[in-house]
Symmetry: C2
DNA sequence: TAGATTGTTAATCGATTAACAATC
DNA sequence: TAGATTGTTAATCGATTAACAATC
């Protein structure tokens, strides 16, 4: 029950459960069993029950889980009951697409400031925000106590930008740059690299010819 | 040694090894030990050696791994010795950013056709390709024997588009839509959802208060 | 009540690590 | 040769699953 001891792999499944529940709620469903949820996600019912049991008892025997209640509990566990402000660094095509991503707010995040270092981009408006010079990033992060950043700069600028983010007080970085970055161990980094996922999938393809 | 029996989790690490090796090669390094590679990736040296041993003996005692040779072996194992043609569905902001992603080709993939269903987008040129009506997708996929697709459509169109892709003969889908899709078991799907990764990271943040 | 499903225990399964002989 | 590092074995560690009493 001690949240400090919950395995990473269990935590990593909770957002996936939450996403499925959000969808079911939208469709008007009120209750779901671990079996039915597992069928949707290709996960065993036992695993779902075990995962949830790390955090409390959220279901009812004979009935299953009340979706609205379980959503609220998972949001609480995942720390997304409120909305985290997020800074986005790098306003190229990918950064702009992310700035306009519609679902962040409902999932607990809101991009509140955009940064770049290209003079011709600074001052431009994207998603109703003015792109700022990255030299102002530390003061914005400190003033607004921002803990979460999205890194969407080119590979060549990734490590330097990551250093600035960490120095400014950022604690979690979602890294879209196609390169690994080094950060102190207390900083959480999640790397999103389409080439890595494509290569993983191509392993399972039969070779052409 | 039988590749059919290699655990998924081992395969999923190979692209990460390859990315690190590519970087080292660019920096001019010729040889690396499992220890040094592991230090960079926060993975134990034993795990790296064990993972690689599923596929062959690629190192030399006392020396380590010749980077160029190990890159070539990993590319072979991952099935990216040649370049896979890829179709991209959904030419919104995210799709356009992906169409211009510079590193696909060197990693073994090339986007060769863009599709959308919005009449005002069809005919437009993005990344030197003409956006085509999604009704032509099946013939393009069949003619060119395309096996890999990127799904960058809105959530509301994701399942329908996935059905079209599968029906056309696609075997691997990289799904950027913020919704789970159902496909037959022989199709490989990898889901990239920034909200999922952000929520996973927020678990480790101290709550604001 | 009868049927269904949870939460939990114990067993199983699989992945990681430590250690070292082999050998470059 | 001496030092370094692999590939592999066996031990450890941890995650998943099966099963079922509890109970809605």
């Amino acid at each position: 029950m001690d949240a400090n001891k919950v395995p990473d792999i269990v935590v990593s499944r909770l957002p996936i459960y939450l996403r499925a529940l959000n969808r079911l709620a939208e469709e008007g469903q009120k209750v779901i069993s671990s079996q039915a949820l597992g069928d949707q996600l290709s996960i065993s019912s036992a695993q779902i029950r075990k995962d949830l049991s790390h955090f409390g008892e959220f279901g009812k025997q004979g009935t299953g889980y009340v979706i609205e209640y379980l959503q609220a509990q998972l949001r609480r566990v995942l720390n997304v009951e409120t909305v985290w402000p997020v800074v986005l660094t790098g306003c190229g095509a990918l950064g702009r697409a992310l700035a306009n991503y519609p679902d962040f707010h409902s999932e607990g995040f809101e991009i509140v400031a955009l940064f770049d270092n290209a003079p011709h981009k600074i001052g431009e408006t994207v998603a109703n925000m003015c792109i700022q010079d990255v030299v102002h990033l530390p003061e914005v992060v400190r003033e607004r106590e921002i803990k979460v950043a999205i890194l969407a700069v080119p590979a060549s600028a990734a490590q330097k930008t990551a250093d600035i983010l960490v120095e400014a007080g950022i604690r979690a970085i979602l890294n879209y740059a196609p390169i690994s970055i080094s950060v102190p161990p207390e900083i959480t980094v999640q790397h999103i690299d389409p080439a890595v996922y494509l290569q993983w999938m191509s392993y399972y393809l039969e070779s052409p010819d």
